[in-house]
């Protein structure tokens, strides 16, 4: 029985996708994987077909939230015990997966987040992004009392109950901080694990300046509303 499913959301990742999948097969053999092709415009899909990779191809672009949720639905339907998101751009190091899996079991948590900022090693992201990230750390702490040092990290391992939650409902865009609030508010336990991330290996990030402003406003409001949500039951 495999420990879990690795969900690889991919949008225009033709430069990185082979390496990411090879990395998983080599360094995380206890995990299955599925690539979610989010209607890429480059030849990502062709690569997936040619190399016989395990993939699901979305006919319409849904964005990171929709793509990752597809992965959670797949995990739910195939009965996986855990599911972890690994970005298609090569930033996440899958050799941490076994340790994260063990840590989550040991702490009896429902979700474990790979955080760049616990030991502050490896790729630390730009200064501007770090300001934005600490803003969300403070917001989550104020709303839920839990200190999450890397709330925007996509590198998260989820247990069965969180998989089922996300399969039903997951934010469409900038899902990471908001979904943490939702999980905490429903009484589940979220912990972190120190990891080192790599800089993006190839291709381009999809977050621009204008989008950053929208991001801050939208996610703040979303976290506030997610926080109210479960008090009504």
């Amino acid at each position: 029985m495999k420990k879990g499913l690795v969900i690889i959301p991919a949008y225009n990742e033709s430069a990185n996708i082979r390496n990411t999948v090879a990395d998983i097969k080599k360094n995380a053999p206890d995990f299955d994987y599925v690539v979610i092709n989010d209607c890429s415009k480059d030849n990502t899909l062709q690569i997936l077909k040619d190399e016989g990779m395990n993939y699901v191809s979305l006919p319409v672009n849904l964005g990171i939230g929709g793509a990752v949720q597809t992965g959670y639905r797949y995990a739910c339907e195939h009965g996986y015990e855990t599911a972890v998101q690994v970005d298609g751009d090569g930033q996440h190091d899958v050799s941490y997966l076994n340790a994260m899996y063990d840590a989550m079991k040991e702490k009896e948590a429902d979700m474990i987040i790979g955080s760049r900022f616990i030991e502050k090693e490896g790729f630390q992201s730009s200064a501007l992004r770090r300001v934005g990230i600490s803003y969300f750390t403070a917001m989550i702490k104020t709303l839920t009392g839990v200190r999450i040092t890397d709330p925007t990290s996509g590198f998260r391992l989820a247990g069965r109950s969180v998989i089922e939650m996300f399969a039903k409902d997951y934010p469409r865009d900038y899902p990471e901080p908001e979904s943490i609030v939702t999980v905490l508010r429903s009484g589940k336990k979220v912990v972190e694990y120190p990891v080192k991330m790599r800089a993006r290996q190839g291709g381009e990030s999809s977050i621009t300046m204008g989008k950053s402003v929208y991001y801050m406003i939208k996610v703040s409001i979303a976290c506030l509303i997610a926080n109210i949500g479960h008090q009504k039951g």
Binding site: P59, V60, D169, P171, R172, I217, K218, I221, I225, K232
Partner: protein, 121 residues
């Protein structure tokens, strides 16, 4: 603008805000599209609560009575909301067309595979 009107408008805005937040919280509305409503509510609230801003805008546009500016801005923000919806509807109609075609083509592929097996050429 009389204090009566200010209080009345603010109460209306608060009712709409509470309603929108509850709808989003109950998953009946997606946050993305209710953001422009929140923008309208916030924009109008600021203009009502700070009369100085209202005066400046009224003079800039050339409106004599400040209360008219409130209604004008409300109308303008409502147009922004409608535009956002127009753009969302356009995008979705393209997506639905794509999905319909994808589904039909997939059904055809499945049928061909099944009849291919049963005829066993």
């Amino acid at each position: 603008m009389s204090i009566h009107l200010k209080v009345f408008l603010l109460i209306c805005l608060i009712i709409v805000l509470v309603f929108m937040v509850r709808q989003v919280s109950a998953k009946k509305l997606v946050l993305q599209y209710s953001l422009s409503w929140m923008f309208l509510i916030f924009g109008l609230a600021v203009v009502i609560v700070f009369p100085g801003i209202l005066e400046i805008i009224s003079r800039m546009i050339g409106i004599a009575v400040p209360v008219n500016t409130v209604f004008f801005l409300g109308f303008l923000f409502a147009l922004v909301i409608i535009f956002n919806l127009t753009s969302a509807v356009s995008r979705m109609s393209v997506e639905i067309t794509r999905l319909t075609q994808e589904l039909a083509l997939m059904e055809k592929k499945l049928k061909d595979e099944q009849s291919g097996e049963s005829s066993q050429e």
